[in-house]
Symmetry: C2
Subunit: 212 residues, 2 copies
């Protein structure tokens, strides 16, 4: 199918996908933009604009077919392509992310978790036995994952990313509290949890000042 | 000072703040939009547009005064207002966030961490002794934090948020892998780590298809 979705719509699609998936999993078959608007706290016209721009799923007086909408959004996001990922770093961040994330419905199968600390290697995280980082080269050459999730200490981020890039990894999701610079030919998604703190600070101060 | 900053600029300001702070902490006194552009991988014209919209810090041929720019961004984000926060949930997510976040330079002082599990109460996280959630009422009434960070299990999110709202907490940062709906008069920032996974899936698929 053709993609011609703007960047800001793409940024909003994951949230639509989560909400539509919740509906789907609760057995809801169709939903109006008005009801979706209420659940998501977004205007109905924003929803119509976002969802209609990639196909006319919504029908006047019927609403959206939940299953169809879900599968279309999944296709646009590439969630149906069977990508695989490895995680490097089995500390607190790695553990919480591996334990709580529904990887397969978010586009990736997690196929291996690695760490270099002897106290962590061999332990279990959601059915994955943590492997020795020293073995990641053979593993990546054999299984060819598209993506690596970095939950390593700050200091290690750059060298791990360079190792993995040399092994052919094409995309990184970086949780390491330090920004990974763009590398040529590689996709990087830096997750900065503290940016949310600052946005919240802004919203509180704005409200204190009388909500301009 | 007057705020008249658009939503999308506000969303980008935390990243500017992080980069400018790194420069400031390395002793850099001024920086051109061109050099900042290279470091941040954003066009120089985007930078000028974003930063000039709230004051003319940049001077032709001189660039930005790093210290001044940093302090102006901090003011706009409300980072200088001395807000305080409590954290509920001292599991893996709470621990990693409390350990790695520079709270005070991100707008909030973390003043207490709570959990209801006897195995965690009394343990130490970055100098904070984890307190019993049963005591949070007295603590909040006494210290009046503006914000609560929720790193509790999914099932507990809603009831904890309602407890805290009744105690007067006005803003929530929610990491709980479930969306906290807007509550009247309360600011909610839901952090969905798996949305980044889906955005990455989109980018990989887009690239596979030839980078439209």
């Amino acid at each position: 199918m053709e993609k011609k979705v703007s960047g800001s719509v793409v940024n909003r699609l994951p949230r639509y996908y989560r909400h539509i998936t919740d509906l789907y999993e609760s057995g809801v078959e169709r939903i109006s933009s008005k009801e979706l608007s209420r659940r998501m706290n977004v205007t109905a016209s924003q929803i119509r604009q976002d969802l209609n721009c990639f196909g006319g799923f919504g029908q006047q007086g019927y609403g959206y077919n939940v299953e169809m909408l879900r599968s279309e959004i999944a296709k646009i996001l590439g969630l149906d392509r069977g990508y695989t990922a490895v995680m490097v770093g089995a500390g607190h961040m790695g553990r919480t992310f591996a334990t709580n994330t529904k990887f397969e419905s978010r586009g990736f199968k997690l196929i291996g978790i690695f760490d270099s600390s002897p106290s962590v290697i061999g332990t279990d995280i959601q059915g994955h036995t943590v492997m020795d980082y020293a073995e990641i080269g053979d593993f990546v050459r054999e299984h060819k994952p598209e993506m690596a999730i970095l939950t390593v200490p700050k200091e290690a981020t750059k060298s791990v990313a360079e190792d993995l890039r040399a092994l052919g990894i094409k995309a990184f999701m970086n949780f390491s509290y330090t920004e990974l610079r763009e590398m040529e030919g590689v996709i990087v998604e830096n997750v900065h949890l503290s940016d949310s703190l600052m946005r919240l600070s802004y919203k509180i101060s704005e409200k204190e000042d009388g909500g301009r």
